[in-house]
């Protein structure tokens, strides 16, 4: 008779039933087939016939499994018990493991809460930092096909990525075959009047091609037409979503209305979507050809134009770069006066936006990962300590037949449940922490609007929490499973298990080592920021109030009117009580943006572009020197003598003086400047750290030149006054004078706005914002690491003392002194500490190198910094060991020996 069992087993094998259940089903069905076979044979059927009929009972191949599926899956989870040795699939018994884990957690709510909170902090901090990294670095830009968008710069020896001359942009655009099209834009400010209070608006001049290149559609109205972006065209304007809401209450009838911008009437043609963000603050957009400055038409001028191109499909960045370089080479031959020495550089747009912040964010992501590992090590130690207490439980389970794998799985289920609980807490912390990070982040953090908790962040959190659960759960789980039931059940509560204590020691060592790295990183950042603060910016930064100003549109007509309006404004401000001096400048030291002009020595004809020098270019009024308390080293500063009617003069700084006239007195010498012409040097002033306290020394252009506002020709005046900054030297707290100064600037017509009011100290703080942010976050991480490491070593040492109270009791009964017992415990703790410190030092040597670019005035592996970090950690660890060591000396030999 055939053996039916293998046939049946094969048919239901893929159901993966629990072994016992499968055996029952196989037995029952095999009997049925056998009964049928036997009956037919008895009835006279041939063996083949009987066999075929019995096979028929089992149905078509898939049928049995299909029919059983609905009932048997559900059964499967119920059958295995405590350990049962079931060789089922992964999920067999998972429900049981989970229920058991929940029960265990409920039994010790204190332990569960502490472990989840520690993990929640670690996971939350990681999620918060990752959500920043995700939003800023990982998510694509919110334009269609963002990978094909490139920024295109002009490059020169002074600027590898400089702004573009408009005529060059036009030639690039007409000459390219790699790009589907290019667009250009330029930030500017507009005095907005005629609809309530006057207001200074940030805006952008954009080419008609820009928005189509980016793939942006208006939410209302339309984009610029090519004919609106032509010389002499009437002014059309597009509004940002924010401005439309703020000033027009989202009124769709805004289309066709006229806006008065810089006294010019511009018709509103469209509103951009809320997600569109060319620069953070732009509220109005005008066609670039509406920008009437002569600068726009000159190949020598680089009035801050940015160029974006969209690559044709299939064209590589490298071939686009080659093409731009070729076009630039041709232009340099054609226009050597303006273009010699200039080429072009393409940069993927996303890289252009976020490339600068990447090292900082990756550094923080690494640092926060360390914090999580430390948190894991602590929880692992908690679990290890508890697994000793649960040793009897594991032994009973092992005795009942649970194999090692089952116990490991049960314990891992528990640790995963802890870490998932931690993840939930972590998400709450992250939701709050992400907001905190965005608020504390430097204002120039790009793409801050893209930061938030999205599915990628949730996936990250889930992955991290599962990895965390396995990381901190595995060692205790293996330890728990590694139990000889006989010994453990015989033994009392005092256990052997030297292995466990070795593992604990390793965890504490790792915690201390990681804390060394984090502390070293934080200490290096603190030193850098401190050193930068101490750098002399070249002028007295205290008690300076700065504000951007504009003159009344009614006064903005002719050159003399504009000059008079500023003169009167400065007179009024200077006369305000509490004001010591007032001045206007075209360029704010240490502020954003920069302005340069090309010059050559003497009064001869202009040499070709590649023979020219560049100098920072400041247009200032005579009060500038007193307002900044800028040191005058030679000659004189500007005064009332310097007007349009007198011979043009210039001031240079000592860097430029040394550069041009080494060993000579520059006063009285002549230089020529682009656009302006020959100038006589009348004085030398101190160098100002224009490029930033940290980076000015290494900047390529350091020469500085000052030109008197009163000598700016009428032709250039309207442009020179766009974005002028008022500097006020005060005798009291600068911000307390804000409203008084604003009232004086507003003047009798009350239509001259003051905006972006800041003190010089705020401007400097802003220039350091990114470093200070990094420092602050690293300090928080380092402090957390220090606290966790201290708690970790304290926990391990106190536990060791409790465990060894028997031994300590014997020792003191045998006459050991208090000091001997104290030093015995301390020695053990210090051994762990020193091992951790050594490992941490080695790691810090390697890892702090990665942050070299963020440091100033201190080397990554600065011996003094590392020594102080070691000293701090050593003292903290000593203190953490001292408390349990003290307790050890208090062990009463009689009690300790009686306890068992």
């Amino acid at each position: 008779m055939p053996d039916w069992k293998p046939l049946i087993r094969k048919r239901i094998a893929k159901l993966n039933l629990a072994a016992a259940r499968e055996a029952e089903i196989v037995e029952e069905l095999a009997q049925h087939a056998e009964d049928r076979y036997r009956e037919l044979r008895n009835g006279g059927a041939s063996e083949a016939e009987a066999r075929r009929a019995a096979m028929e009972e089992l149905g078509a191949h898939q049928l049995l499994a299909k029919e059983l599926k609905s009932t048997e899956r559900v059964n499967a989870a119920d059958s295995p018990t405590l350990g049962g040795g079931a060789r089922g699939p992964f999920w067999t018994g998972l429900g049981h493991d989970l229920r058991y884990a929940f029960r265990t957690m409920r039994k010790s709510p204190g332990f569960t809460a502490i472990a989840m909170l520690a993990l929640g902090l670690g996971i939350g901090a990681n999620t918060a930092i990752f959500s920043v990294v995700n939003g800023v670095l990982l998510q694509p830009l919110s334009y269609p096909d963002p990978d094909r968008l490139l920024k295109i710069y002009e490059s020169s020896p002074a600027f590898s990525q400089g702004s573009v001359a408009y005529p060059n942009y036009l030639d690039w655009r007409s000459g390219t075959r790699s790009f589907t099209d290019m667009g250009t834009y330029r930030s500017d400010q507009f005095n907005y009047t005629g609809n309530g209070a006057p207001e200074q608006l940030n805006g952008e001049y954009v080419s008609a091609s820009l928005l189509p290149v980016l793939g942006v559609r208006p939410q209302l109205g339309r984009l610029f037409l090519p004919e609106e972006d032509r010389e002499g065209a009437a002014c059309s304007a597009m509004l940002s979503d924010g401005f439309w809401k703020r000033r027009f209450g989202s009124d769709p009838k805004v289309l066709g209305r006229a806006l008065k911008l810089n006294a010019r009437s511009c018709e509103v043609i469209g509103v951009l979507p809320a997600t569109f963000r060319l620069s953070d603050t732009a509220e109005v957009y005008l066609a670039v050809e509406v920008y009437t400055s002569v600068e726009l038409r000159r190949r020598e001028s680089h009035p801050g134009l940015s160029v974006v191109g969209r690559l044709k499909p299939g064209v590589s960045v490298a071939s686009a770069q080659a093409e731009i370089a070729t076009i630039c080479g041709r232009l340099a031959l054609e226009y050597p006066k303006s273009n010699a020495g200039y080429s072009g550089k393409v940069v993927p747009m996303k890289e252009d936006i976020v490339g600068g912040i990447r090292p900082t964010l990756l550094l923080l992501l690494g640092a926060v990962g360390f914090v999580l590992i430390i948190a894991c090590a602590n929880v692992a130690n908690l679990l290890l300590a508890r697994s000793t207490a649960r040793k009897r439980e594991f032994a009973i389970r092992a005795a009942l037949g649970a194999d090692r794998g089952r116990v490991v799985r049960q314990l891992l289920t528990e640790s995963l449940l802890l870490s998932l609980g931690g993840a939930l807490i972590g998400l709450l912390i992250a939701a709050w922490g992400t907001k905190l990070v965005v608020a504390a982040a430097p204002a120039n953090l790009p793409r801050a609007e893209a930061i938030g908790i999205d599915p990628y962040v949730l996936l990250f959190t889930l992955t991290v929490s599962i990895a965390t659960g396995i990381l901190f759960g595995l060692a205790p789980a293996l330890q728990g499973a590694n139990i000889n039931p006989q010994e453990s059940l015989k033994e009392g509560t005092r256990g052997a298990g030297g292995g466990r204590h070795r593992v604990e020691g390793v965890f504490v060592g790792v915690e201390i080592g990681l804390a060394v790295v984090l502390l070293a990183g934080a200490a290096l950042m603190i030193q850098s920021v401190w050193r930068i603060w101490k750098v002399d910016p070249g002028f007295n930064t205290h008690n300076i109030l700065t504000a951007q100003v504009a003159v009344s549109p009614t006064a903005a007509g002719s050159g003399p009117q504009i000059r008079q309006a500023y003169d009167q404004m400065l007179e009024r401000v200077a006369a305000t009580p509490g004001v010591a001096a007032a001045a206007i400048t075209s360029q704010v030291p240490l502020g954003e943006g920069d302005s340069e002009n090309d010059y050559w020595i003497g009064t001869g004809p202009q040499p070709p572009q590649d023979k020219l020098n560049s100098a920072m270019f400041y247009i200032v009024t005579p009060g500038y020197r007193s307002a900044l308390q800028l040191p005058l080293l030679k000659g004189r500063f500007f005064d009332r003598r310097d007007t349009l009617g007198t011979s043009p003069v210039v001031l240079i700084d000592d860097v430029m003086a040394r550069h041009l006239f080494p060993g000579q007195d520059p006063v009285g010498k002549q230089i020529s400047m682009m656009v302006i012409g020959p100038l006589t040097i009348v004085g030398v002033v101190g160098h100002v750290k224009q490029w930033g306290l940290d980076s000015d020394d290494t900047a390529k252009i350091r020469d500085q030149s000052y030109f008197p506002f009163a000598q700016v020709p009428d032709m250039f005046l309207p442009e020179a006054v766009a974005g002028l900054t008022l500097f006020v030297r005060t005798v009291t707290e600068p911000l307390s004078l804000t409203s008084a100064v604003a009232a004086q600037v507003a003047g009798p017509t009350r239509d001259q706005p003051v905006y972006a009011v800041r003190t010089m100290e705020q401007i400097i703080a802003r220039s350091l914002a990114e470093r200070r942010f990094t420092m602050l976050v690293l300090m928080i991480f380092a402090a957390t690491a220090l606290a966790l490491a201290a708690v970790g070593i304290y926990g391990v040492m106190s536990y060791a003392v409790t465990r060894q109270s028997h031994e300590i009791g014997i020792r003191s009964a045998l006459g050991a002194t208090r000091w001997e017992i104290l030093s015995m415990v301390l020695r053990r703790g210090m051994k762990l500490t020193v091992a951790g410190l050594a490992g941490g030092l080695a790691a810090a040597f390697g890892l702090t190198r990665l942050m070299a670019g963020l440091l100033y005035g201190v080397r990554p592996a600065d011996p003094l910094t590392l020594a102080s970090v070691v000293a701090i950690l050593f003292s903290v660890a000593l203190a953490a060991c001292y408390i349990p060591a003290r307790r050890a000396t208090a062990v009463d030999p009689a009690t300790a020996l009686h306890a068992e």
């Binding site: 029952e28 049925h32 028929e56 049995l64």
Partner: protein, 114 residues
């Protein structure tokens, strides 16, 4: 004359009722149940093991019947199924429902004792 065809759907719909009815009097094992269905329907109804046993397990899961391994001397053990108290209630109501259904069908199709 051709044998009357029985729609598989009718068979499926009545299977639970058939099994419960057969277990009403006494506990029986699976093979016995399948033989009885075949004999009493004079061969019109037949359930293969591949569909009978899954059905039994389902009824068992619903607590309408209960299976027990019974070992009689000199024989291998067999699994006997018996009706539970719940099963008895279900049987009563299904039986009523079925009769009402058959009457209704008869009223419409006019197949009166054909």
């Amino acid at each position: 004359m051709e044998a009357p065809t029985i729609d598989p759907e009718w068979k499926k719909g009545s299977a639970e009722l058939l099994i419960l009815s057969l277990l009403e009097a006494m506990p029986r094992h699976g093979y016995e149940i399948s033989k009885l269905i075949e004999q009493r329907s004079r061969g019109a109804l037949r359930f293969h093991a591949a569909s009978l046993y899954p059905l039994l397990y389902r009824l068992e899961q619903r607590d309408w019947i209960k299976g027990l391994w019974v070992e009689k001397s000199g024989q291998r053990r067999r699994r006997y199924y018996q009706l539970t108290a719940d099963g008895r209630k279900v049987l009563a109501s299904q039986r009523q429902g079925w009769q009402a259904f058959v009457e209704a069908i008869n009223l419409i199709t006019g197949v009166e004792n054909a």
